[in-house]
Assembly symmetry: C2
Homo-oligomer: 156 residues x 2
């Protein structure tokens, strides 16, 4: 960071590593690492014209077939209105379908189509590969440790 702070003669001496601030914060390191993996995945998914949120939605639907839009919103940690254009896109591309519920005609059950299931299988491999590529600096044991630590954090 701040790679060229000495390009003006008014710039003072950069701080010593001992004074590092941002670099010692988990939140900062987490953000930098997350952005790197996110950008990497975005690049890989772009070949299928999909965004990470759409991939996540497909994965959640597969594991919870028939769930309602409100459930999907909670699972993706987004607000219900954001589900609408997301699902519309998946339906346009025939990857998922909304099915009116029999007992409560206000809600839909959401399911993957055959094409959605097939594409998701591909996407899982892409995401897994993207993970490894973006964390090439780690070995398998370190990846395991990292996943364990991160899971402990976000599971409260």
């Amino acid at each position: 960071m701040a790679r060229s702070a000495r390009t003006t003669d008014t710039a003072a001496t950069p701080a010593t590593p001992a004074e590092a601030v941002l670099e010692d914060l988990l939140g900062y390191a987490l953000r930098r690492a997350q952005l790197k993996l996110f950008q990497h995945l975005i690049g890989r998914l772009s070949a299928h014209d999909l965004r990470p949120a759409q991939f996540s939605a497909l994965a959640v639907i597969e594991q919870n077939p028939g769930l309602m839009q409100a459930d999907l919103a909670r699972a993706l940690a987004i607000e219900p209105p954001q589900v609408v254009p997301l699902l519309n896109k998946l339906e346009e591309r025939a990857l998922a379908v909304r099915v009116r519920c029999k007992p409560d005609k206000r809600s839909y059950g959401i399911f993957l189509s055959k094409a959605g299931e097939a594409l998701l299988k591909e996407l899982k491999q892409i995401a897994s590969d993207s993970d490894r590529e973006a964390t090439a600096a780690l070995d398998d044991e370190e990846r395991g440790q990292l996943l364990r630590l991160l899971t402990k954090i976000y599971q409260e």
Copy 2:
């Protein structure tokens, strides 16, 4: 995630842990954990009416006094146009100042004011505390491991 997929009678049985997909991806765990720490920090900084990016900017300026706006943009991984409103806000609040460079009158040297230095000292403590609070599930050794692994990732 997908906490209530069984609220409709059309919902099938949720997947077994063995079939977990998203939960096994580093990118997913990274995103969930990062969002948690980010939201926590946003809450803590709001008492000072500041955003994380403004805190980061103050920290970068402190460690690289006199740097130019283009340098700050690189350090924050944002585009030069985004630096303008950010710095304007810091100047309005008298936390930082732009000083015209003597040799090159196109550019500014950016410095913290005394008030900026004083506030930053407080903010560092807030950020450090926020880190610990949001990662209460980890002990100190685990935090150290995590920081080391994350740093390896984002430093390529």
